[in-house]
């Protein structure tokens, strides 16, 4: 495990990068949430994004997901040019984003939510059962509306949806939010497993210690940029 922020960047030759951002500026309204990000992520890497609140971690993940605009600079994700709208649309289907919100419908049960999103994502419906099993969502929990679930149980449900989706690039925004120790370990092992089978991951967290063991590299985001060398 390499935990040195300076090590990874040059190591990846051009063309094989899963994510390559060059001087990316991303505006939210008039606010430059990203103010010139340079970052390359190679296949099989697990990059930990740390930094204070409001540093731009979430926007960085959303740019990679094709949900936030690239107003200046160049960005390519999974070989797609993120400055083009059609390319952004194509990327969206191939990444998996676990954001601040879980995208669950309160009135539907765990099972209904996971089934709906599996169908919407074009995922294999046979993968639902093992995914729920894996995330420790017991039978008795599956049929109650998710409104009644705890934050951790909702997070697990959202993660189950992501597992069914089998993304090539995992984008996790504070994945541990609301989870107990067991749940955190569960997510870590799922990410590790996905990476072993060929996926790449970027994880944002303001509690780097918890994820450091999982990451191949950690990067500090501050002021809408990558602050190299300022890593703890």
């Amino acid at each position: 495990m390499v935990n040195d922020p300076l090590a990874g960047d040059q190591a990846q030759p051009h063309g094989t990068n899963v994510v390559k951002l060059a001087a990316v500026v991303s505006l939210i309204g008039r606010f430059p949430a990203l103010a010139g990000v340079d970052l390359s992520v190679g296949p099989g890497e697990v990059v930990l994004l740390t930094g204070p609140n409001g540093a731009g971690k979430t926007t960085l993940l959303r740019v990679c997901a094709g949900l936030a605009p690239v107003n200046r600079g160049d960005a390519s994700v999974l070989g797609f040019n993120m400055t083009r709208r059609n390319d952004r649309r194509s990327v969206r289907r191939q990444v998996g984003l676990l954001g601040h919100s879980n995208a669950l419908y309160d009135e539907l049960s765990v099972e209904e939510n996971v089934t709906f999103w599996a169908k919407a994502n074009g995922a294999d419906l046979a993968s639902i059962e093992p995914a729920l099993e894996r995330l420790g969502l017991a039978d008795r929990l599956r049929s109650v509306p998710v409104r009644g679930l705890s934050a951790g149980q909702r997070r697990r449900t959202a993660m189950a949806i992501l597992v069914c989706r089998r993304p090539r690039l995992w984008l996790l925004d504070e994945p541990h939010a609301g989870l107990d120790a067991e749940g955190r370990d569960l997510i870590d092992s799922l990410v590790r497993q996905a990476v072993e089978s060929g996926a790449t991951a970027m994880i944002a967290s303001h509690e780097p210690d918890r994820i450091a063991a999982l990451a191949t590299r950690s990067v500090v985001v501050a002021g809408g940029r990558i602050a190299n060398g300022a890593c703890p």
Partner: protein, 242 residues
């Protein structure tokens, strides 16, 4: 930016402004003094010389420009047409309000009431609200390009609505035998027609003059914003350096 680009006026708009004034003087002379009073409506017909062109300018010219500008914006993505569509809608709403007020002022001496559920007046009122909705969308707090795209879709649909509303209200009123005095029935001579014509020219010029100025305000705002973005990026970067 030098001083010349900071204002909204230019040589063209100044000349256009004087031309508008000149046409306006001739128009007022014809509308108020030279043309004769109408047989049944007497002098209140003179309101028509300004009312009817205002209706045409707002409903068809201004909102038409909004629809066309919106379509070109969606097609080409050019900010120019987005701003034209916005400016035109704002001035259109102004003319639309003016149409309503002059229509009601005309109705009072003619029909004895301000509001008669006349088909044109009613559909103009609905159109007025339709485009107030458009302006409300333009003021939504969201990223500029998202807002512009939504406004453009709305601009096109709203213009279609203007036409649908106009025909449907006319049809609705035709079911009931309503107004005894149809505005189209007035006795017209040449000097009155000429007054209408001058009114249409005058108000189109006013529209064009306002449109250019309003467009430039919008354009300067976007210039200011994009200039501000560079500063904002610098500021944002400084956050990280602390």
């Amino acid at each position: 930016m030098n001083d010349a680009t900071l204002g909204t006026a230019s040589k063209v708009t100044t000349r256009l402004g004087f031309l508008t004034l000149a046409v306006g003087v001739v128009f007022l002379a014809y509308a108020l003094f030279i043309s004769p009073p109408e047989i049944s409506q007497a002098d209140s017909v003179r309101l028509f010389y300004i009312h009817v062109p205002a209706a045409i300018v707002s409903l068809y010219l201004a909102f038409g420009v909004t629809a066309v500008g919106s379509a070109i914006y969606l097609w080409k993505g050019s900010q120019f047409w987005d701003l034209v569509a916005w400016a035109s809608a704002e001035i259109g709403v102004l003319f639309c309000a003016f149409t309503l007020v002059t229509g009601m002022l005309w109705g009072r001496p003619t029909w004895g009431v301000y509001w008669t559920w006349d088909a044109r007046l009613t559909s103009t009122a609905i159109t007025f609200i339709l485009f107030l909705g458009y302006l409300a969308v333009r003021r939504l707090d969201m990223p500029a390009d998202v807002r512009s795209r939504r406004a453009a879709v709305l601009g096109i649909i709203s213009f279609l609505n203007v036409i649908i509303v106009r025909y449907s209200v006319a049809w609705w009123r035709s079911l009931h035998q309503g107004a005894t005095l149809n505005p189209a029935d007035i006795q017209i001579d040449d000097s009155m027609l000429f007054s209408f014509f001058l009114g249409a020219v005058f108000e189109s010029l006013v529209f064009a003059w306002l449109l250019i100025h309003r467009f430039r305000i919008g354009w300067l705002e976007t210039q200011l914003e994009s200039a501000g973005i560079d500063a904002a990026i610098e500021e944002r970067r400084a956050e990280g350096a602390q």
